[in-house]
Structure formats: structure tokens, C-alpha cells
């Protein structure tokens, strides 16, 4: 039985005087993959940062599992189980893959890496390699693998496929589906075919506002998404 795990109500956010988000309402249910689509500068990343506690909303609320996240520090939001994976794929490049995973384990007290290796078997071979020496796809695997330790409630993933080879994108597609069985995903993504393949719900964001909600599988298509871009 699916229930609401993340709820955003009347969210407004600004960078100084420049208002970026306007009255955002959205929700994510358990087991769902929800995507936000929109042009560059539409406010998608700002939305994720506001949910993750990196940007203090000017008004509105963010609730996860009936707990108010607005006003919490970003590290407390992450500890609570709402984790943000940023767009730039900057892992801790001076640390090895193992150390990067240990950081995730130590924070969550979850030392079971089997699930991570099950999703991303290649990481097993790269354990002693410095993360700075990984390819873009491997870094993305590491960031996602590290984030799923501790079974977070929601993963906020910013542009996960940007700059990745098609083969890696295809792998991520099936991995996201598997992860969503345990952890809900809110993904900001411009790759519309991927969005349409995996998303249970799509929000179209334009100029800081949600201009459309495609709430069922049938209504989600590349053409439908493109209308709002």
C-alpha cells in the first residue's frame, strides 16, 4: 500500500532578492519514482536544494514521513533519510572507493555493502582506486551506492545521467527501478526518454513554478513532457 513519504506545500525560495521558486506543491509516495523536468534555470536544482536543507525556504513546508524538514540543517535532513545527490558528480576524489563508501556507512551505521555491490557490481573491482580516477559513470555509481546505505526514505537525484554514456544510462534506468522498491526517488532530469521509462509521476517546472503534473503512467510521454519545456 503506497503512502505519502515526501510532501512539499506552498514552497517559496530565493537567492537574496531574486525569488526562484513560487508556491511549489508536490508529493512523492513510497515506491515511486517522481521526476521533475524543465529547462535550464527553471528552478529544479533549487527545488532539490530547498528540500535537502541547503537553501532555507522563504515560506512553505517540506514534510517527510510526517516530520517537518523545513528549518532542519542539511546534515539532519540527510540523517533523517532524505539524501541529496548533486549534479556535479564530485566524489571525494582523494579518497578511495572503499573510503567513500565507509563515509556513507559510518554516517548511517549501515555496513552492509552487499546491496550496493548488487546494484553496481563494478564497484567491487574498484574498491582501492582513488575516486578521482573514476570515470563519470563510475562516480555516479559510487555516489548513488553511497547514498543508499542506511536505506534512506527518499533520494533526491540531480541530473543523474548528464554526460554519461548510453550504456551506463540504460544500466541506471533498471537500477533506479530496483532502488525505488525500497527508497522513493525524486529525480531532476532532462533526458525525457529516461523519464518516461521510469517515472510514476512527472512535474513540469517552468520559471520556478510547477506548470503541470502528469500523474499516471498513461499520461507520461516525451511529447507530453515537451509541451511544458
Amino acid at each position: 500500500m503506497s503512502r505519502e513519504i515526501l510532501s512539499v506545500k506552498g514552497l517559496n525560495a530565493a537567492y537574496g532578492e531574486a525569488k526562484v521558486l513560487f508556491d511549489i506543491d508536490m508529493s512523492v509516495n513510497t515506491g515511486q519514482i517522481v521526476a521533475c523536468v524543465g529547462r535550464n534555470g527553471a528552478g529544479k536544482t533549487t527545488l532539490l536544494k530547498s528540500i535537502a536543507g541547503f537553501l532555507k525556504p522563504t515560506s512553505g513546508s517540506v514534510t517527510a514521513d510526517n516530520t517537518l524538514l523545513s528549518g532542519m540543517k542539511s546534515y539532519d535532513v540527510a540523517k533523517f533519510g532524505v539524501k541529496y545527490i548533486p549534479q556535479d558528480k564530485k566524489v571525494f576524489f582523494d579518497l578511495t572507493v572503499r573510503e567513500n563508501l565507509e563515509l556513507g556507512s559510518y554516517a548511517t551505521k549501515d555496513y552492509n555493502w552487499d546491496q550496493v555491490i548488487a546494484y553496481f557490481p563494478k564497484l567491487r573491482l574498484l574498491m582501492e582506486r582513488k575516486a578521482g580516477h573514476l570515470s563519470g559513470g563510475e562516480r555516479q555509481m559510487l555516489m548513488i551506492g553511497r547514498a543508499i546505505l542506511g536505506r534512506p526514505k527518499v533520494l533526491l537525484i540531480d541530473e543523474p545521467t548528464e554526460g554519461l554514456a548510453p550504456g551506463i544510462v540504460a544500466q541506471l534506468k533498471s537500477t533506479f527501478r530496483e532502488i525505488s522498491l525500497k527508497t522513493s526517488l525524486l529525480i531532476v532530469e532532462q533526458n525525457l526518454p529516461l523519464v518516461c521509462a521510469i517515472a510514476d509521476k512527472v512535474y513540469a517546472v517552468k520559471d520556478g513554478r510547477i506548470v503541470a503534473e502528469l500523474g499516471d503512467k498513461e499520461s507520461i510521454s516525451v511529447a507530453a513532457c515537451e509541451r511544458y519545456l
Partner: protein
């Protein structure tokens, strides 16, 4: 195998330092060992947390004066004095750390320099009643003899300082290998990313600050016991760059760097000052040269060559991509 290599390395290093004592003057060796402890704290701050501090003389003075106050006014046992010195540094670090670690590296460097200036004038002018100002506190004859290792005997002091330096080194080796060490490095690389995982950067930095400055205070207390004397000169801002120079000279963030840096710096100072009047000028030029040709410092540049030569195999990282 890796651990064996490290422990073998440190055992060899400290054994070499012990052997060097036969050929080199005792004051020089004591200076090297204490300076390497001084630099270990600074090295941890710069190499692991990304904080450059020009205020290390202040923490050195906190340790030295805490130890000196104990030995001058209250007791005679040098071991207790050293413990009091470390506690002094620990308490001060805990008190001012929450204010200082909020700052990023450049401001952190300057606020610490300001602290060194404050401590210098406090000990020199304001607290003359208890510090005796520029005259300093003399307590060499008050230090009591102790069984086993008698710290009033310089050769015994050398053994003690060597053992203590090895312990401090092992402690930093443990920190480097621990998840906390990884957290420190992660906060240096990208503090925001660490928050994404649920870590509180402030706590990580504060702990690092306290550990590093307590180590510096330990060095201060050892100087106090070794010399039997402390003066405001210890906190002098003109010496603020010394531990930073030693750290950079040895190799920032490397475990052997502080030891190598201390040997090189003290050695250069010792030899060059006997030959040239304005030795600081020469060392300045030498440092510029080292920065230009070996920005990883002496150990940072030598280590890969030595490793290749000694172990005749490449590390997994040097293989590049599959």
C-alpha cells in the same frame, strides 16, 4: 602487508633517529624530535582539514606556560607538568575552537595569527606578575628526578621524547586510517558533499582543531621541561610561520613529512646559521626553490621514488583506468 610496511617504516625512522644521536649533538636531536611533534599537529590541520594556521606559537605557549606554571608554582614532577601542559592546550582549544573553526582557511590563518599576537603580549606585558615578562620563568632546578627515565638528564629526555614522538606518530597514523581521518579529508575536499551524507562539518573540524592544538601544546610542554625555562618569545608572531614551513618542507599531509621537515629545517638552521649571519634569508630562498621544484615537499617527492625502489611494484592507483 601495507600495515607491515608502515610500521616497518616508522620503526626504521625512529631507530635511525636513535642511531643519529650517536653522531649528532644531543641538543640538536632533542630539538628535531620536539619540533617534529610540533609540526605533526600543524601537518594534520593543513593536510587533513585544509586549515593553515599562523597561530601555532600561541598553542605552543599555552602548553609551555601551563607546564611552567605547574613546575614553577605548584609541583616538581616533569611528567605531571607535561600532562598539565597538554590539558592546558586541550582546554584552550575547546574554549576557542567553536569560534575559530567556523572560519574558512584564510580567515582561520589570520585569526590564529591574531591569537599569537595576543598571547605574546599577554605573557610579555599584561600578565608580568605571573609570567615574569621578558625575564621568563626559570624552573630547571625545581624539576625533580624521576625513576626509570629521569627527564632532568638530557639523554634520558631524548629517549622519552623519541618514544613520545613515536606514540604521537602512531596516533596520527591511526587517525589517518580511521573513518574520522577520511571525514577530515572529505571536509577539506568538499564540505557540502559531506553534509549530504549527514555529517556535521563543525564537529569534525572542532575535533581536528582540538587534537592538533593539544599536540602542539604537548610540544610546548616538552620544550618547557627540556629547557627548564619559558619566555614570551615562545609565542612570538615572528615564529608563526615555522611549523607551516616545516610542514610544507617535509610534505603536507604525509605522515613522515613532519619528521623529515623537522630534520631538514633544524639541520639547515643549525648548519647555515654557523656559516652565514642572515641565515633566515638563505632559508627563505631555499624554500622558494623547494616550492618551485618539489611542491610536494621533501618526503612527498621522495616517497614515490623510495617506494618504487624498495618494493619494486606499482601501487593499484598508478595503473590508471582499466
Amino acid at each position: 602487508m601495507n600495515a607491515l610496511r608502515w610500521w616497518w617504516g616508522i620503526l626504521l625512522t625512529f631507530a635511525l633517529l636513535g642511531i643519529a644521536r650517536v653522531f649528532l649533538p644531543l641538543p640538536f636531536m632533542n630539538e628535531v624530535v620536539i619540533f617534529s611533534i610540533y609540526a605533526m599537529g600543524c601537518n594534520f590541520l593543513i593536510g587533513r582539514v585544509g586549515y593553515i594556521s599562523f597561530g601555532q606559537p600561541a598553542y605552543l605557549a599555552f602548553g609551555a606556560y601551563a607546564c611552567a606554571f605547574y613546575l614553577f608554582y605548584f609541583g616538581t614532577n616533569p611528567y605531571v607538568g607535561i600532562l598539565v601542559g597538554v590539558l592546558g592546550g586541550l582546554i584552550v582549544s575547546l574554549l576557542i575552537g567553536p569560534l575559530f573553526v567556523r572560519l574558512r582557511s584564510d580567515y582561520f590563518a589570520m585569526v590564529n595569527l591574531a591569537l599569537a599576537v595576543i598571547v605574546f603580549y599577554l605573557t610579555q606585558k599584561v600578565l608580568v606578575g605571573i609570567t615574569h615578562g621578558d625575564n621568563g620563568l626559570w624552573f630547571l632546578t625545581r624539576i625533580s628526578s624521576t625513576p626509570l627515565l629521569d627527564l632532568t638528564i638530557p639523554s634520558h629526555f631524548f629517549i622519552f621524547s623519541l618514544l613520545l614522538a613515536a606514540l604521537v606518530w602512531a596516533f596520527y597514523k591511526y587517525l589517518d586510517d580511521s573513518i574520522y581521518g577520511a571525514c577530515c579529508l572529505a571536509t577539506k575536499i568538499n564540505e557540502n558533499k559531506l553534509q549530504f551524507l549527514g555529517y556535521h562539518n563543525f564537529s569534525i573540524r572542532l575535533l581536528a582543531f582540538v587534537i592538533a592544538n593539544s599536540t602542539t601544546a604537548l610540544a610546548g610542554a616538552m620544550y618547557a621541561v627540556y629547557l627548564g625555562f619559558v619566555s614570551p618569545e615562545m609565542a612570538s608572531p615572528s615564529r608563526a610561520a615555522d611549523p607551516v614551513i616545516v610542514t610544507i618542507l617535509g610534505g603536507v599531509g604525509t605522515l613522515f613529512g613532519p619528521i623529515v621537515g623537522a630534520i631538514a629545517y633544524t639541520g639547515m638552521k643549525d648548519v647555515i646559521s654557523k656559516l652565514i649571519g642572515n641565515w633566515e634569508l638563505f632559508i627563505g630562498f631555499l624554500l622558494v626553490f623547494i616550492m618551485l621544484v618539489a611542491d610536494k615537499g621533501i618526503w612527498g617527492s621522495l616517497a614515490p621514488v623510495l617506494e618504487k625502489w624498495l618494493f619494486r611494484r606499482k601501487s593499484p592507483d598508478s595503473r590508471g583506468h582499466d
